[in-house]
Symmetry: C2
Subunit: 283 residues, 2 copies
C-alpha cells in the first residue's frame, strides 16, 4: 500500500527537478477515465478514515495530519483542495491559505502565522502555500539575506520535528508543473471571464524567474526532507493524475495511521434501556 | 426566489414550537428522490455563487455569510455540514464547532470565542452550535443567573447588528426535531459500532429536559429574530427535506447578494501579449 509514497518521494540530494517529468504518471492505475473511477473509490475510503481519525480525536486522541501544498501558480493547489480535500467531510478538515504576509505577520517570526493555523487533534489540516514561501519567494526575490534563508531551513526542520513529536503526521507535496503547461493555464484564465479574477500580472513576472524558483524548490526539499517529514514530487501537468496521486498519498498515510474508533466508557445496554424505558416526554 | 425564506421564517412572538410539525415539508419540490435531485442542482448553483463571493473578496469586497446551526442532539447539524456545506469548495468555507467552553474561554465574555471564529471577507462561515448555547443550555441548566441570560439576549442582538454593519449576512437555522425521532436516532447510534462514538450518555439526560429546551429555543428566537438577522425553523425529522431546505435557504441568500466578479485592474490583451511573446524559459 505504501508504494506511491515510495514512488513519489523526492530523490536524495542533489535534487534535479529537470530530471523529473511533469507529464509523467508513476503507478497510474489506468487511463484518464479509469483513474478518475479509482479516485472516486479512494475518496470514499479516505473520507471513512478521516472520520475515524476525527472520532479518535473526540475520544481524546492527539493525532492529526498536516498536508502542505506547494507549487508554482496554476500548478493546482486549489484544484487539489477542491477535488481531494473536498471529498472529506468539512467537519474535521481545515484549509488555510497563506498569502503575502500582513504587516502584523511581518512583525513576528515567519513561523508565527503557521503555528496559529495548525490542525487540532483528530483533524486534517491543509496548507495552501505555507512557511516554505519564506525560503522560496524569500530566496528568489531576496526578501531576506542569504544567511537568514539558511537559518530558516534549520528552523523549519526543527519546527517540523516538533510537530511530529506532537503527533502531527506531516505530508509535504510539491506540485511539479512545466513552464509550457503553466503558459497554457495562464492564457486560459485570461480568456475565461469567470476565471480572470484568478490572474495576477505578477504571475507573469514570477514566471520569468522560473529557473530560480526550481532551484529554490529543489534546495528547500533537499534541506527539509526527512523520513518523518517527507516531501513528495507530484507530476502536475495532467490534472487527473495530480488529483489521484495526492488523494492516494493521503490515503496511504491515513491507512498507515490506522485511526481507531474510541471505546465507549459506558455500558451500551444500560444506555439503550434508559432510552427505551424513559417516561413519556411532553414537548 | 425568496419564498422558502418566507415560508420557514420563525413566526412572530409568542413562538410556539409545538405548533410547527417536525415532519412537515413546506414548499418541498417533490418526493424524496425528486428532492434529492433538485438538491444536486441547487448545490451546483450554490457552489458557483460561493465562488463568486470568494472572488469578490479576493478583489477587495468585504461581504461574507455566516450560517448559524442550532438544534437538539441528532437534529442533523453534522449532516447539514456534510451534505450542504460539503457541496461548496473547501476554499472559502470555514466550519467551526463550538463545544463546551474551555477554561480559557470561560475567563472571557461568551462572545469572545465567537468573534475569533468569524469568517473573513468573501467567505461562508458555518457555526455548528454558537453563542446561542449560552442562552440555551445556559438557561436550561441554570449555568447563569436569569438576569445574566436576559442581558445576553441584548448582547447577542447588538453583536449581530454589528455583524450586519460589517457586511456579514447572518442566516440562523433551528433544526426542529421531534423527541420521537431523536429517540430513534440515539438508538441507531448505539446499535452501530462505527457511530457509537457520537453517543454521549449526557444526551439522554438532556433529553429529559426536552420541554425546557423547546422553551429556551422559542425565547431565544423571539428575542433575537430581526429582518436582517432572521431565524428559520427547518423541520428536521426527514433528513432529505432538511438538507434540501438548508441548501435552498443558503442559495436564496447568496442569490440575493448577487456577488460580483472583480473587474481586472489591468489590460487583458496586454497580459496575453506578455505571455505569448516572452523569451523562451530554461528550466
Amino acid at each position: 500500500m505504501s508504494s506511491l509514497r515510495r514512488a513519489l518521494r523526492v530523490p536524495p540530494a542533489p535534487v534535479r527537478l529537470s530530471g523529473l517529468d511533469p507529464r509523467s504518471t508513476p503507478l497510474v492505475p489506468g487511463d484518464k477515465e479509469r483513474t478518475r473511477e479509482v479516485m472516486r473509490v479512494d475518496a470514499e475510503r479516505l473520507a471513512e478514515l478521516q472520520q475515524r481519525l476525527y472520532a479518535e480525536g473526540v475520544g481524546g486522541g492527539r493525532r492529526r495530519v498536516l498536508l502542505v501544498l506547494q507549487g508554482m501558480d496554476t500548478s493546482g493547489k486549489g484544484g487539489v483542495v477542491k477535488h481531494v480535500v473536498g471529498a472529506m467531510e468539512p467537519h474535521g478538515v481545515q484549509v488555510v491559505s497563506f498569502g503575502r504576509p500582513t504587516p502584523e505577520e511581518l512583525r513576528h517570526s515567519f513561523l508565527w502565522r503557521v503555528r496559529k493555523a495548525l490542525p487540532g487533534p483528530g483533524k486534517v489540516g491543509v496548507f495552501d502555500r505555507s512557511h516554505y514561501e519564506d525560503v522560496l519567494v524569500g530566496r528568489v526575490r531576496q526578501l531576506a539575506a542569504p544567511e537568514v534563508i539558511e537559518r530558516r531551513y534549520r528552523e523549519i526542520t526543527r519546527f517540523e520535528r516538533q510537530l511530529v513529536a506532537d503527533d502531527v503526521t506531516v505530508v509535504k507535496v510539491f506540485l511539479h508543473l512545466s513552464p509550457w503547461e503553466q503558459k497554457q493555464r495562464l492564457l486560459a484564465r485570461l480568456d475565461d471571464s469567470t476565471k480572470r479574477w484568478k490572474f495576477d500580472p505578477s504571475d507573469v513576472d514570477e514566471r520569468a524567474l522560473w529557473p530560480e524558483y526550481q532551484e529554490a524548490y529543489a534546495t528547500a526539499m533537499e534541506r527539509t526532507d526527512t523520513d518523518t517529514t517527507p516531501w513528495y514530487v507530484v507530476p502536475a501537468d495532467r490534472k487527473w493524475y495530480r488529483n489521484w496521486a495526492v488523494g492516494r498519498l493521503l490515503l496511504e498515510t491515513l491507512t498507515a495511521l490506522q485511526p481507531r474508533l474510541p471505546e465507549p466508557t459506558w455500558d451500551v445496554d444500560e444506555q439503550r434501556d434508559r432510552l427505551v424505558e424513559e417516561q413519556p416526554l411532553s414537548g
